[in-house]
């Protein structure tokens, strides 16, 4: 099934694009998708998302269908959902 992934700020810069489609298997979880995103791109993106471990860095936010979802939640994705991966910004 298809999932649309959108990126913001430094995550977007590291991914090199603002959105892309991913083909995932039925029953794919949000965690599995984000790991797939990190594996697809170069090391810069992975160093932002997973700098120390297999756990997403807590400053990175995830949204599914416009709702914030915590990394610790076990969310199964639905076909054609939009997932946003957001990195915090502080420009003033």
């Amino acid at each position: 099934m298809k999932i649309v992934v959108e990126y913001t700020a430094q995550v977007k810069k590291a991914a090199g694009l603002s959105r892309e489609d991913f083909q995932v298997i039925e029953g794919c979880t949000l965690q599995e998708l984000v790991k797939q995103v990190a594996e697809k791109h170069d090391a810069t993106l992975k160093s932002i998302l997973f700098p120390d471990s297999e756990e997403l860095h807590p400053s990175i936010l995830l949204f599914v269908a416009d709702q914030q979802v915590l990394w610790s939640e076990s969310l199964t994705l639905q076909p054609d959902q939009v997932v946003m991966i957001l990195s915090p910004i502080s420009g003033g």
Partner: protein
């Protein structure tokens, strides 16, 4: 009688066109006149926030920003002027704000917000607009917003993108709910056009006006994100963390 200080004839003349806004009116203007707001800092974002709040007739502004005006400020920090290069930023900001609104009460503090000064400075105001370029400053204001139960407008930009939300103690989470840890990827220097910081600055000023006057619906529990590179706008629901180290521990 509204209980707020009445407008003078001069104020009625200056604010006539915004008093026409439905659900705002003279009562809304009186609330702004009675209100005080901290804007920290007065850079690309805070300059525009302070300018719009001064124009709208907020009674008192506390502006906090250390350092002197540099050439690289002038592409976006609209309260800084070329003739003030090398002189204190807050002096330039105060002068420009007074030119626009001589009735405005201004307290100009030549310091950036930190854990040591945040409590005293936040005590001076009813509402905070956070325009700081570094997360430790933002966290210091957030902590005092929670402790003193004062609304905090959070606005930020990067490149052609911006984020905006409004935290209201008791009704929403706080900045530490949104970003529990200082993001390692964030750097002090960032790409910026003044038109981007100015756009989100105007929106943040409008959030402050709404919260102070009761007009409309503020961005409570929602994060507005936009990218002016392709004009995409998103408004997403954000959550209050049950384990938040700030609002769940400090809120009275």
């Amino acid at each position: 009688m509204s209980g707020f200080p009445p407008l003078t004839n001069e104020e009625r003349a200056v604010y006539e066109w915004q008093i026409w806004v439905p659900e705002f009116g003279e009562a809304g203007q009186e609330k702004l006149k009675d209100a005080s707001v901290l804007v920290s800092r007065c850079g690309g974002l805070g300059s525009v926030v302070a300018y719009e709040l001064a124009a709208a007739g907020v009674g008192k502004l506390v502006i906090a920003h250390a350092g002197n005006v540099k050439p690289s400020d002038l592409n976006r920090q609209l309260l800084m002027t070329h003739d003030w290069l090398g002189k204190p930023r807050v002096e330039s900001a105060e002068r420009r704000l007074k030119e626009l609104n001589p009735r405005l009460e201004i307290e100009a503090i030549p310091e950036n917000i930190c854990e040591e000064n945040a409590e005293k400075i936040v005590q001076k105001v009813d509402l905070i607009v956070d325009c700081a370029p570094l997360f430790p400053e933002r966290y210091a204001m957030n902590r005092q917003s929670v402790l003193q139960r004062k609304p905090l407008i959070e606005c930020a930009m990067y490149d052609l993108e911006a984020q905006l939300t409004t935290f209201i103690p008791g009704q929403t989470g706080c900045l530490a709910c949104l970003f529990p840890h200082d993001p390692p990827a964030w750097k002090r220097e960032f790409p910026v056009f003044g038109a981007v910081s100015g756009t989100v600055g105007c929106m943040a000023a409008m959030e402050a006006i709404k919260v102070l006057s009761g007009l409309g619906q503020p961005l409570a529990n929602q994060l507005l994100m936009f990218d002016l590179r392709d004009m995409t706008f998103h408004r997403n629901r954000i959550m209050q963390r049950t384990e938040c180290s700030v609002c769940k521990k400090l809120e009275i």
